[in-house]
Symmetry: C2
Subunit: 431 residues, 2 copies
């Protein structure tokens, strides 16, 4: 392995015409992103990067004819890990076996570039420690928001600020579904379309249930809010409860609905949530359409910074991977943002949208508002649109900013009322 | 000077509890941005950074009581340059004497962090070469778009892409003026308001004439399009010709008007322009209000990436400065994006908006369209709103995408027509 690229104390490559040996790269995983990484390396042949190995299960069926003939194709992970490579690019995903491959590569002093949000969210701190101890580097710019440089933006550009709040649209599948529903379509056919287009898995739970966005939020919280959290402390809420009725009411409130991942530190208290929320139509979060991703980071000194672009897909994710490889080749260090373990709650103080579907009878509004009043929650508006049947009547109550725990207390009481046909739906309203 | 921070081959700071001496920092310039940098250092005291010197002319009147008592206040630039400091933070601006201070610091092997767009646009390549030769580093994240991490985003996050096009709103003063005019105000009172708020200088030429945005565009072109250009090859167009009439016509076309800095490489040809342009109301560029900045970079692989936020002001710019200082302290290298000298033209192929003010008589439209037809330029629409006097009648012609040179030929002919009361105004329409 060329010393110039390996050691933590290697100099930045000189601009002078010194011949350098390139960083030897092994791709683990030759799916959509892996192929795009190989494609960019083959087309742009960036200086200092050389693709030497490609590992995939059943690699024969994956083989393409446009990579360098010197590339070793292999289905033997152990052999590739033991080969003369400097960097493992891990694009297999999931905790295992990807995690153990990453660990073994770092143990051996190699560097790792990964797009694996789950691995970084759950084990990133330990893996970084391991990398530092063995002289390698771990880079994961592709793990959040694909081609949008949010991670370098936070690490390099906003390191000097104190980020107090962030909101993100971090899951392209949910954004595709919700922006199509905003335009008038129903959940089920849109999900089917997303699956047909390859935007959603056959089992969409990871995406629509909020687990994917949660992992990404945990990663961003470490860089932005400087906390190491257990992602499982955040209970994500699925987008599956959202219906056309909600988009209709949201529009009347000057809003739309997006899957939002948000986190905030206020007076030393750390809160995070992932799920569908109302966003004002005039806010940046409402701009994102289709599979776009967006992150808004709010700094104490610099104010709001917005990043947006293509959050997923082979090519955008591959751009982030190749950029990380170039950073390694150029000896670019991460700005190590100090972070500390922390616990996180769902205790935001936010206005809420609450949609009820009831069998209409006198006294329902009085009973609901009384339950809210007992928790000191102030009503902002009660909206009931015409045209719905009285035996399954949807109507909406919006409330002034209140603690989530107070709202949940009130909703526990309201839920028990016999007129409630389905579970009330409460959504944060972002302001 | 602590070796750990000085040398090009210094290791990244270890995570272990090794006591390190901090990077010693001299601020050159204690105006709005300088004070904000000192404020952030005093409040956040980021590890590894120590403010040791503050230089300003007539420094006595600048002195504040909240910096560390050990800070040396000085009005002797030579003495501060000769002092035991590791980094000069240059916030004086302009080519001289700031340029010679930067040069002397780099000559001495010190690093420099600067917010000086003019210096970097005109002399950045040479200064970077000097820094590399003497073992120091030159960082200028604050030179473009203040608190928005566009420069780290391009250097670190998009290095793996091939950026083919970029559009930016790079001057907050122009954006403030034009977004207020969009809301119905006239140029002169809005400029006066901008001056009163400190957004515009007494002589606003640098901003409204496009010179400030031009320098920033030249810097971004180096990182994004990888070309070293002479900024003076771009002839900026002032926003002063824009009137309420243009906003009214633009709105009818589904557009608004912004000062745009744009550059593109197409089929090996490099084009750049700075000036007022029409942008679609549904495009990200129309979102930016007030003094906000925005950059849209379009990559061959990753598609459009949007960055937006506060482009100016003491605190946002100071965030970029402190982030650069942290990157130096952490041994983070720039990803050296290779660039080559290039010439730039104004030869975009774009649709245009052309507004005429004429003394009405029969045959004017025929003459104008004939002149355009002789250059093979196709008319898209002719719009004439009611309510204007016939002796000073504004009307608009929009044309299909055409070469700028062809349009200028046609306009030279049209300009000579005796019915033209004022210079026709041609604006690119971004699509």
């Amino acid at each position: 392995m060329p010393e110039a690229y390996r050691s933590a104390s290697s100099p930045a490559p000189a601009s002078a015409g010194v011949t350098r040996t390139a960083l030897r790269i092994a791709l683990f995983g030759f799916g959509t992103v892996g192929r795009s990484v190989a494609r960019i390396l083959a087309e742009s042949h960036p200086e200092g990067l050389e693709l030497t190995h490609i590992f995939n299960r059943g690699v024969a069926r994956k083989r393409v004819d446009w990579t360098s003939p010197s590339v070793v194709w292999s289905e033997d992970a152990d052999a590739v890990l033991a080969a003369d490579v400097d960097v493992i690019v891990e694009l297999v995903g999931g905790l295992d076996p990807a995690g153990s491959w990453v660990e073994r590569a770092l143990e051996a002093g190699k560097s790792v570039v990964t797009a694996n949000k789950k691995l970084i969210a759950f084990r990133g701190v330990d893996l970084e420690r391991l990398a530092a101890a063995r002289g390698g580097h771990l880079k994961y710019g592709a793990a959040v928001a694909g081609g949008i440089p949010v991670i370098p933006g936070l690490e390099q550009g906003l390191a000097g600020d104190r980020i107090e709040r962030m909101e993100g649209i971090l899951n392209g599948t949910c954004n595709f579904i919700l922006s199509k529903m905003e335009a008038g379509q129903e959940y089920a056919p849109v999900l089917a379309e997303a699956q047909a287009k390859g935007y959603a898995e056959a089992d969409p739970t990871e995406d629509v249930g909020g687990f994917d966005a949660r992992a990404k939020l945990a990663i961003l919280m470490r860089l932005a809010l400087r906390v190491q959290i257990d992602p499982e402390e955040i209970a994500p809420r699925p987008i599956t409860a959202i219906t056309a009725v909600d988009f209709s009411y949201a529009r009347d409130l000057g809003c739309t609905i997006r899957q939002i991942a948000r986190a905030e530190r206020r007076e030393g208290h750390l809160a995070a949530a992932v799920g569908p929320m109302l966003v004002a139509l005039r806010s940046p979060l409402a701009w994102s359409q289709g599979t776009e991703n967006m992150v808004v980071a709010s700094g104490h000194y610099g104010g709001d910074v917005v990043f947006s672009g293509r959050g997923a897909g082979g090519h955008p994710t591959a751009v982030a991977v190749v950029s990380d490889l170039l950073a390694l080749a150029h000896g670019s260090r991460r700005v190590e943002i100090p972070s500390a373990p922390a616990h996180v709650s769902a205790e935001f103080e936010a206005p809420h949208y609450i949609r009820f579907v009831v069998k209409d009878r006198p006294g329902i509004v009085a009973a609901i508002t009384a339950a809210l009043a007992r928790e000191q929650i102030n009503i902002r508006a009660i909206v009931q649109k015409a045209g719905y049947p009285a035996d399954a009547l949807p109507f909406v109550v919006t409330v002034e900013p209140c603690k989530n725990s107070a709202l949940q207390h009130a909703l526990a009481e309201i839920r028990a009322m016999d007129c409630m046909l389905i579970e009330p739906l409460d959504l944060q309203m972002l302001e």
